[in-house]
Assembly symmetry: C2
Homo-oligomer: 348 residues x 2
DNA sequence: TATTAGCACTCAAATCTTTTGAGTGCTAAC
DNA sequence: GTTAGCACTCAAAAGATTTGAGTGCTAATA
């Protein structure tokens, strides 16, 4: 059986009403919509069909209907038209920030504030290259290495050393490091490369080993997938997600970057949706404890084709319209910022 | 009426039992302790006295007794002897970290993990002086200022500039900045000082203004009271703290650094306790929504007399013994680290 | 005089019972 | 195909009952 127009209308009304109220929707409620002009009995018949088709379900015999995952899916794919107005207020919220890290933190925050859901943002998976390295003497026993990576990601690393270095030594090391590492991709920087570099330069000393060790650590850190989250406590606002213990587990999961990257991996696999917005409803994602949640992710693009993800985690009964349109606006804004930034760097 | 020994013993047993079970404690339970050899009737009489004195209270007529704030207070001050054993496992948990920021984050984390309460740690209020400043060219339009502060607190600041600088300029600025600012206290670095410095050096340019602006911002940031927290979700584990909405408010408060610094201010005012451990029980702290919580804070010391605070936020029914002893051990360890570090810096 | 056994009493919490009402499916009429 | 009507269902709310841990008081005891 295909869904005819009337069934679609009724399904849409049921889901929209349920999204608003959170209560199972009965036939009487739907029959009251003027433009429908159908009695509750007719609605009941239609509802029985919709239930048979798996779009809605009764929590118990004498209750109204609530959407199934399949119902939500159909709603998101076919029935929901997006809100377009909300654009005005949002565009002012993102301040220009020239450090990617701070920018993405802010994105997560703004989004959580706007939607009242938990949000997560990953840095783009761009090829991270070293802009430059700066080695400085902090005191007799300590060096500081600062590594600036394309996108102004900055890593500081304290390097304890055994030997006292004079400024000339430090300068020499600086030149050595930058000669070899400037422009190098972080993935390429490993022990072998550094060994090669040592050989080629003819330099060798224990100090150099210590310094390289520090650089490797910093590079390793910089190369880790960063995930920025915000609004975790919003999860508490939606009791349907579960009892305290379930919510608590979910919250802990949300604090665990490992788990989150796992989640994002899973939810950004297939890019079949328009505008790169992905909606994962209920059990469509297989992470445990999240079967009562939906996850909406959007992909933003950097000029060189690198992409990052913005995600929203909320209850299945989520305001999909708002979330999708907010995400769209935000990715557009982000694309914009990255492209403008690129422009500044190239032209100015 | 004064508390005689027997009353003290009984009060102690009541509170200790309540801390374990979380259930109101009845006379029968207490009378079963062998070394007491009293009937429940006698205990009842004593309990009636203790209630009249305000140390315990009945949640309802036919229930056992639970401690009042006054009861907890007496327990903490006079009845509780501390656990001393737990030391062994803890001392290995703190890795040596040479950046204060990372160290304090780790302290918060370790403490939360050990106690299952929410924890907060403030950086010490030491006189922050500039160790050195490093200005580097990121690209044509951008400088990076790195400020290293005593205690290896590192601040990075991106400074956009209008004019192209060559390396010589940057070097010149570096020397200028370090000549004037090395060893300066952050509080002293403000616009006036910088203006004076400009005058005295005879340097003047728009670039310098932009650089100084950036430095001032970074200094300002570095000078803010940093609070590191961990284990916020532990709050969810103690249902007695309140229903979801109350817990949620508490959690949000715990994410708000402003609020937390307010809280810490309040709870570290009077230092009358031994070993600088402060216990604030229930309504003893006046922050709203925290009347069902207790806060235990400890003060750690840096060599120059600067101090910082470690705090634990948990339910009134908290394992005070464990918390106090854990905090003591941790402050000792911290004192140790700071003193050793100082040693390294001075001697090696 | 302090302690205790005994007993009637209290009251929250657990359990069971009843009522309510929103909602359904089915049928017969339109 | 639509709808009015009606018997039926069942979760949730409200009410009634039972249970049991705990109390305070009194009178007997050491």
């Amino acid at each position: 059986m295909e869904l005819d127009e009337r069934k679609k209308t009724i399904l849409k009304l049921i889901i929209a009403t349920y999204l608003e109220t959170g209560e199972p929707v009965g036939s009487r409620t739907i029959s009251k919509f003027n433009d429908l002009n159908l009695s509750s009995a007719t609605i009941r018949n239609e509802m029985a069909d919709l239930e048979e088709l798996g779009y809605i379900v009764q929590p118990h015999t004498s209750a109204g209907r609530i959407p199934t995952d399949k119902g939500y899916r159909f709603y998101v794919d076919n029935l929901m038209e997006e809100k377009e107005e909300a654009e005005v207020e949002k565009s002012t919220l993102l301040e220009r920030v020239d450090r990617m890290e701070l920018l993405l933190k802010q994105v997560a925050k703004v989004l959580a504030y706007n939607t009242n859901y938990a949000t997560l943002v990953t840095a783009p998976n761009y090829r991270k290259t070293v802009k430059f390295i700066q080695l400085s003497k902090v005191d007799e026993a300590t060096l500081l290495a600062v590594i600036v990576i394309e996108g102004n990601l900055i890593k500081n690393q304290i390097i304890p050393i055994d030997t006292i270095l004079d400024n000339e030594d430090v300068l020499k090391f600086n030149i050595l490091l930058n000669t070899f590492l400037q422009g190098a991709s972080l993935e390429d920087i490993n022990l072998e490369m550094i060994n090669a570099m040592k050989k080629q330069s003819g330099e060798y000393s224990i100090i150099l080993d210590q310094i390289f060790q520090g650089i490797i650590e910093a590079v390793h850190e910089a190369n880790e997938l960063e995930i920025y989250t915000s609004g975790a406590t919003n999860i508490l606002k939606y009791p349907e997600i579960g009892d305290i213990s379930k919510t608590s587990e979910l919250l802990e999961k949300f604090e665990d970057k490992e788990e989150l990257s796992h989640l994002l991996e899973e939810t950004t696999g297939n890019k079949d949706d328009s505008h790169d917005i992905q909606v994962y409803i209920g059990e469509e994602n297989t992470v445990s404890n999240m079967e009562d949640c939906s996850i909406v992710t959007a992909t933003y693009k950097m000029p060189e084709g690198a992409t990052g993800t913005i995600g929203i985690l909320g209850p299945k009964r989520m305001d999909y319209k708002k979330v999708v349109s907010t995400l769209k606006n935000l990715t557009i804004e982000l694309d914009d910022i990255f492209n403008k930034r690129k422009g500044v760097n190239d032209d100015g």
